[in-house]
């Protein structure tokens, strides 16, 4: 029951998978930001299933963005921006058949218990990945806002089904290379294998997970509000709102736990009059505050829980064991589409921090 995130740049999510629409209210965006529906549409299109994504859901939505409020004459007004896409291609029949059977790995059981069975179960309702279209709309505004102070956010797939991409190079080459394949991976050779793996999993009625890296370049030093609103903490909270994300790490992350201090510590140096570190095990964050080095986070995405294979489950009505094979229209691997969502959430959180730390003016001119 908390669908708002952020302090000064605050988003409020609404809508269900098979309801009327998916929407988001963005509150706190400064006035004077030039923005058009096309800026938002471009980002929303990145997570669409119809872009040739291998084995993505067969649901075909136009996902045409509408701007209900907060933009006037091509600029933000300082008022809350309500953005929405309508749900059109709704087919709840596959869900109707199994609505009393708990799908393993899904929120069916916990949602049923928490909301007393009143939750909208059609297409997973509020627990569908489709609600992240709203996150992406908010992220589009955030990205535009961050660009005014030179911050660029990028996410890409670094691992799918156990296939690792070669370590990313500079951000320009990441962007260029990830655009060349359907899994948003900056290593073309790995991308080919990933696509094969997804197709193979699909043939088996199975699914795959993976790892997404989110980055931000151009951050000023000083973003983050310790002790509790660290950059890491607020990003992790935002990332873990993306369905299927089960882990988050920053910089060297879990690998840092196996390093010695002399290996993990990033030496300081001076370059062009600015303090930098010579390595970036800290992922651009020290003490919960941005250091000016590139921010680097990684998100662990579990395999899509909806699979065609027969699984053991329980019937909620009878409380008897049963089995289930999940139909409906699902992605075999959501990682490629979740890349756009990870990017969006990174932007939303950083926009909030930039405003809180006074790095963005309340009125842009």
């Amino acid at each position: 029951m908390n669908n708002s995130l952020g302090e000064m740049f605050r988003i409020t999510s609404f809508g269900e998978s098979h309801g009327d629409c998916i929407g988001i209210v963005v509150d706190g965006c400064p006035a004077g930001l030039p923005i058009g529906v096309e800026d938002i549409q471009r980002e929303v299109d990145k997570r669409k299933s119809s872009r040739g994504r291998p084995l993505a859901t067969g649901r075909r939505e136009t996902d045409k963005v509408e701007v209900f409020s907060g933009v006037f004459n091509g600029f933000t007004t300082g008022a809350p921006i309500c953005l929405a896409i309508w749900n059109r291609d709704i087919d709840s029949s596959a869900y109707e058949k199994i609505k009393n059977v708990l799908r393993p790995g899904h929120a069916d059981f916990t949602a049923y218990e928490k909301y007393g069975g009143f939750n909208d179960w059609r297409g997973s309702g509020r627990f569908s990945g489709r609600i992240t279209a709203g996150f992406v709309m908010a992220g589009a505004v955030a990205k535009k806002l961050l660009s005014t102070i030179g911050i660029e956010v990028t996410a890409h797939a670094v691992e799918i089904g156990g296939i690792k991409a070669a370590p990313p190079q500079d951000v320009e080459s990441i962007r260029e290379r990830m655009a060349g394949n359907e899994v948003s991976c900056a290593d073309p050779a790995a991308a080919v294998k990933m696509i094969e793996a997804i197709k193979a999993a699909s043939r088996d009625g199975d699914s795959l997970g993976g790892i997404i890296e989110a980055r931000a370049e151009g951050l000023p030093v000083g973003l983050g509000e310790p002790v509790f609103d660290t950059i890491e903490g607020c990003l992790a909270k935002a990332y873990l709102a993306i369905p299927a994300v089960k882990g988050v790490e920053f910089g060297a992350g879990f690998a840092a736990a196996r390093l010695k201090g002399s290996e993990d510590n990033d030496a300081f140096d001076v370059k062009s009059g600015r303090v930098i570190t010579t390595t970036n095990n800290h992922g651009g964050i020290l003490g919960g505050i941005s250091s000016g080095m590139p921010l680097v986070a990684r998100l662990a995405v579990k395999p899509t829980p909806s699979i065609g294979k027969l699984q053991r489950s329980v019937d909620l009505d009878s409380l008897e064991p049963t089995t289930v094979a999940v139909g409906g229209r699902h992605d075999t691997c959501i990682v490629p589409r979740a890349v756009a969502v990870a990017e969006a959430m990174t932007a939303v959180v950083l926009a909030d921090f930039a405003l809180r730390h006074g790095k963005i003016e309340r009125v842009l001119r």
Copy 2:
């Protein structure tokens, strides 16, 4: 500049390493909880350096807990509970010498930039691990509160310096075994090696990191407030406020990214009339909501940045390269002491969720 955490069970942290005291205000604890200073002291003692921790800081503090408000006649009153320990054994001399030299891996640079050089640098000031004593005091209240509805929180070290403990068994054996050694590890054989590794690192003027597992048993189904206040998200945010934590995962976590759906999905079953899962890759959380299975989280702790070895750095005054060997009194590995902090933060977050979901009455009798 945000030192409060939580909605209904909200903690507010204050104090610096070499200031007058370390404190915490706990707001929102229901009235009628029986609690004494000894309940809080017991938890605080768990993170003390003087408990024979191998190579823990030489700073010797009594850490005697004082209850300033909110408790009357042995019960909480419903008013904010202010808890504090005084700083007594202060020696800022080692810091004075290097106060203009950025210690690699520390928040010196980011804090200096963010607070314009006005931050209290003595003993790392607000960025010292010592402020987590406040977290532990709050955790003591939260643990007591959770115990009224049968929730038990436990943390233990599962890896130090690359040495992995054998997978934990039931929670009773974890508690019993971890109490038998100074690194809070439930695998006695691994504990011996961990202690040796810490001692070796200390001899080298180096430091170690590790991984902590935090667990909660007895959770009711339904805690968590999606879409943004998921259990994972709120716990991760709380964990990442602990200095040196750089990654968090739940259930199978990052390993889940390499599983297939058919492997990762936990089958549902019925036991004693209750729905359970036969495995726990989901770590007790589905859709951001507790499933009733044990909650399992892991925290990656980087090696202590303060090391005796000579490191490359920069002098803030001259902006010239320099070197630094960090003196002061530091732990070679903070994992053993951070176990108590991870446990505390788990309790604080779960207490908040239990109150938000109406699982704990506003007045206890």
Copy 3:
């Protein structure tokens, strides 16, 4: 830039007077509340100008409520409820003409300065009373929720243009009588005079203000979260978000400042085994907490700033003095329509307190 209100029952407002729509997101409403669009429409109709209100705005909107999310099969689902009405009868021409002239008593100047001239000025944009239609939609949900625990909220006009209604009697007669006239006043004789006064003011190209009383019956003892979230404080904050409200008082209010303690103190007594007070100068609130006696608040509404009379003003472009006579379509007195808004905000705040204090279950059955 803060368009959200409430902790557990939280509303988020969006939309402008001449934009696409006026909307509200209600987050935190428990699952299982039976509600239909007609429940919300009924409340929205109460603030419509077309109900024969004397000299209300000529703008004719159908104000047909749409439920975008959060309701399924006639019950709330626990998900955010997005409600909206579309703006249809838009005519910005009167505003176009004077868009650079500051209308006295309006937010033109402050909004221009705060939002750098990017604010939507059409029909006062975000500062129009029209956005309170969103408040009323949220209030409809809150009223329905409160009714499940026997709380009834009522507002009525007690003074217009200096004409005072006779002191209100019991709440049933208030409701019955106020429904009999177009100014929502429970004193029929006063209502006649109020209507005459409004007509006279209109003839003069002038406007009137007044006072609204908001009441709640059936409150349990114990709502309110001191020290900062008192019932008075949270209600006042909500009331002062209604355009034109410039003062709020509770119980005897400002008159209490002139009483002696022996006159103002309400004596305690016991009735049917319950503690009551024999008088109600405290307006149902002691120490910021509900006492179980009827809650009584009064809101001072200033006269509509839009008047046809010529007024001195300033041209924003030239910064030269000028004069302005405000055209457009405005109410001569907004008090009758603001009654529904005051009632709605009372309900929204009390629903939040009832949830926070655990008086309403998270799932209704």
Copy 4:
């Protein structure tokens, strides 16, 4: 159970009347503000009873301020500032005698019900006016902060026991004149009568209320965050946290409800190149946003509920009617001392708005 107020300048109150101490944590104050304990002591002294206040409580506390954290070398550090005074002159005997008897006009009944009888009843515990000493400490920091951008806050008594002061002139004369008497009234002649009235009430075993005006000069245009965080709303919420305040109005306030639009509207004009209004019925706030004109608020303070006269009441144990004459040490009229509190809360709220709107830098130099 909510003892925090503010978004970016957030205060957290703790402590009880007869507990160890009264304290406040100020979070979010920018780094680099020069402040000493004497700046805070000066404000705290203004609300002390020992300053010759007529018939103020006989309790004699030194109220010596201690700064526990957040200040280093004479400047704020950006870390939370914890401030406290110790309770020394505690005598709970008068309360012990009547602890089961509900004092009319007090929070005894509502607190007992809300906190299940676990609340600290000594000296009214958490509901004592003494906790406002914490508000004043926070206000001292806020005032110092506001002074860096030229905002000056002033409060004074404008009515006591029905005796009205002549309308205030310029703020300098208000300050000068109110300092000349013990009731903080800017009208010397009225002050004499007020003091007489207080003495007479005391002789009768009775008490008086009154009205406080709070003002702020030097406000920039644009503070306030509509639609819900208006300046009026946030100030009213803060004022109503002061015990005994039962009403708040801004500018012409309740009187505006009796004016016509042509009378109430403040004409715009230009002076020295700045837009001003020729009158100030709007009290410096239009659309919930500061207009640059002086902010003017008035607080209705009810008479002290503790009176020596015999009153009808109820015994909580037996639920039988009884009578009570309240002993203990109380002010006959709290208005003179509450002036300092109203001033403090005004400063706290405005500091928050100034930070939110970017008018104060995060680091002061």
